[in-house]
């Protein structure tokens, strides 16, 4: 069991000397506000429409969607042309029943890179 000490004195010294401070190892800016399929929902296959709405404007041409299949295989999903700046759309086909994870990574208009996942089941 090893935990860094987080008292201000310790952090003062550690962060200054060795850049080992309180920093959390991730950042985030764009939030997924709504999605189809919804998180932990069930949808009918084999054709599934993907629709993601974010809280900020997204640079669609520099964002990515990836689908993890139940057998562990991965597939990059092509993004449709953006109709609204906060929405990404795609289409997944040939989906067999099982648990899938949609991984998204987006570039917000202000330059922030964010990522997340949507787990859903195809029946």
């Amino acid at each position: 069991m090893r935990r860094a000490l987080h008292g201000p004195w310790i952090s003062i010294l550690l962060t200054i000397i060795l850049l080992n401070g309180f920093s959390q190892p991730a950042w985030a800016h764009a939030i997924l506000m709504e999605s189809k399929p919804a998180i932990h929902s069930s949808v009918k296959g084999p054709e599934v429409a993907i629709w993601l709405r974010f809280n900020v404007r997204i640079d669609g041409s520099r964002s990515r969607l990836r689908l993890l299949a139940p057998d562990g295989s991965q597939q990059a999903l092509p993004l449709a042309k953006q109709e609204n700046p906060d929405i990404l759309q795609s289409q997944a086909s040939g989906m067999k029943p099982g648990a899938y994870t949609l991984q998204w990574q987006v570039l917000a208009s202000d330059g922030h890179i964010s990522r997340g996942e949507v787990a859903f089941t195809v029946t």
Binding site: M1, R2, R3, A4, L5, H6, G7, P8, W9, I10, S11, I12, L13, L14, T15, I16, I17, L18, N20, G21, F22, S23, Q24, P25, A26, W27, A28, H29, A30, I31, M33, N55, V56, R57, D59, S61, R62, S63, R64, P85, D86, Q105, L107, A108, S109, D110, G111, H112, I113, S114, R115, G116
Partner: protein, 546 residues
């Protein structure tokens, strides 16, 4: 690998954003200072202004070079991460908003560095144009630029906010420099009066635009304490309040005292203003790494959840628990300590904690509480020493050695002296090496502070190292990125850490003032920093993770 890359990038990007905001503010403040504040007047000899202008332009060049370097690094890092994670080429990155904005800032900063030289009359106009362009490009990489609603008005409000911040906080270092190089009272008085009038306007703009942005980005009182964004904005507001108090003191001094009485005090107060002001800018960089509070629909912490985490509770100081957590026993089911809760411990969402999590949390709390006890003792002794009624309390820096011992003993329960792994086996492991170096620094500070106090070295420049470290540590506590994997737990940790960061900043700058102000003006700051230590200790003693 992709996920790891974005994770590692997080903190670095906040640092780069912080660098951008600080240098951008210096650019704005510097250009305004050169073009307007230190504008020659017939009342004062030209030679005096020449010195001020020349040194200000030199500092402006340095700030411009700093901004260009930070932007170049930002462009490189952001592009590299995007290319690696989105699997695209440089040609595709070039059209991205951040790349265009960053490139514009880089070019504007580089040209500013080239033009900021004495004796170039036309350059003055170009400097104003260039910093305006840099400001505009910078605003295009903040929250306003990516909003779906009210985008244009938010961009305008953000621009005004950053402009006023730059003019005031970014101008303060130039004022300090101007006061230092001018040397004669009339020039000092002239530039200070002009700056004071400008600062008054800037404070009004900052407060008004800050309220406007808070209404848009925070939206409710609950989000003010229930989201990390709200908490960090509150921290900014609190420090701005402190800055306004210092500015208010300067304002009153300028209007009620003679130049000879004001200047020795004013210079020192402005130095502290610079420090706190830059900390506010660093905190702003941290705010930009978070989604606005209004967007967190389901992840706000309730007042009840916040209170249950911060309400005063007896600290976990049990020697038994200390020994057990040091004995490398991750799971301690059934072990009851004095402070063990009766109900099954849960996370903020009510999820029962696993024995491993519980053991980790208990150990962390134990560490915080012991550290709190030591810091509290330091604060109380420093207060006693200040009262003049307990000479022996002057030896409070010796408690830093106690902290050093605590770090060595408690930092890694697997390693020497309490764990099974020997000193030599762990001496090159980065974490252990860091902890032991930190302990050595603590010991160094103990010896150093004791010498400062006992040998009355307070007028020695080296006496400023300790308050600077304190203030810098607090600033670093407030400059961090946030992840969204466990938003509520992140926020609850924030609720305890942010006040400690603010107190450390106040402690550092009040000690700075105690050292720097004329002897007769030291009474107030001399009480503030020990009181901050006491509060930091109390905060640590009440620290909890469940």
């Amino acid at each position: 690998m992709m996920l790891k890359l974005v994770d590692v990038f997080g903190y670095l990007s906040v640092i780069l954003r912080a660098g951008t905001l600080v240098f951008q503010s210096l650019l704005l403040g510097g250009v305004l200072f050169v073009l307007w504040i230190a504008r020659p007047t017939s009342e004062i000899a030209d030679g005096n202004f020449a010195k001020v202008q020349s040194s200000s332009l030199r500092m402006l060049r340095i700030a411009a070079i700093g901004l260009a370097v930070v932007q170049a690094f930002y462009l490189y890092v952001n592009s590299a991460v995007l290319m690696a994670t989105a699997e695209i080429g440089l040609r595709d990155v070039v059209g991205a908003n951040f790349f265009i904005s960053g490139s514009v800032i880089f070019v504007a900063a580089t040209l500013t560095a080239a033009l900021a030289r004495p004796g170039r009359k036309l350059a003055a106009i170009w400097l104003a144009v260039l910093v305006t362009v840099a400001l505009g490009a910078s605003v295009m990489t903040n929250h306003a630029a990516s909003r779906m609603e009210g985008r244009v008005s938010l961009i305008i409000v953000s621009s005004l906010h950053e402009l006023a911040t730059g003019f005031w906080i970014g101008g303060l270092p130039f004022l300090v420099l101007g006061l230092f190089v001018s040397g004669d009272r009339p020039t000092q008085w002239y530039i200070t009066k002009r700056f004071s009038r400008l600062a008054l306007v800037c404070v009004g703009v900052i407060v008004a635009t800050g309220i406007g942005m808070s209404l848009s980005y925070i939206g409710s009182w609950g989000a003010l304490y229930g989201t990390a964004y709200g908490v960090m904005v509150s921290a900014k507001a609190l420090m701005l309040g402190a800055l306004m108090v210092l500015g208010g003191v300067n304002f009153l001094l300028l209007r009620n005292c003679s130049p000879d009485a004001v200047m020795p005090r004013l210079r020192r107060l402005v130095e502290a203003e610079v420090g706190i002001g830059i900390t506010i800018i660093l905190t702003a960089a941290s705010v930009t790494s978070q989604p606005p509070a209004v967007d967190l629909v389901n992840d706000k912490v309730t007042a009840q959840q916040a209170w249950s985490r911060i309400k005063p509770t007896w600290p976990r100081l049990g020697i038994e628990a200390l020994a057990q957590s040091s004995a490398n026993t991750p799971a301690r089911d059934g072990v009851q300590t004095d402070s063990a809760p009766k109900a099954p411990p849960t996370s903020v969402d009510g999820t029962p904690l696993s024995p491993k999590n519980l053991a980790d949390i208990e150990e962390s709390e134990l560490n915080h509480h012991w550290m709190g006890l030591l810091v509290l003792a330091m604060g109380v002794l420093a207060l006693l020493a200040r009262s003049g009624k307990a000479k022996w309390a002057e030896y409070w820096p010796l408690l830093l050695i106690g902290i050093a011992i605590f770090i060595i003993v408690r930092a890694d329960s697997e390693a020497w002296p309490l764990g099974p792994q020997s000193f030599w086996a762990t001496c090159l492991r980065p974490e252990d090496l860091q902890h032991r170096l930190a302990a050595l620094v603590c010991i160094g500070f103990a010896v150093f502070e004791l010498r400062v106090r006992k040998l009355k070295l307070e007028n020695h420049p080296a006496a400023l190292a300790f308050p600077l470290m304190c203030a810098l540590g607090g600033a670093l506590l407030l400059t961090h990125s946030h992840n969204l994997t466990n938003i509520k737990e992140e926020l609850l940790a924030e609720l305890s850490h942010v006040p400690l960061g603010i107190l450390a900043v106040f402690a550092g700058w009040s000690r700075w003032l105690e050292v720097r102000l004329p002897a007769k003006d030291r009474a107030v700051p001399a009480w503030i920093w020990p009181a901050c230590f006491v509060l930091i200790g109390a905060g640590l003693l009440n620290y909890r993770e469940m």
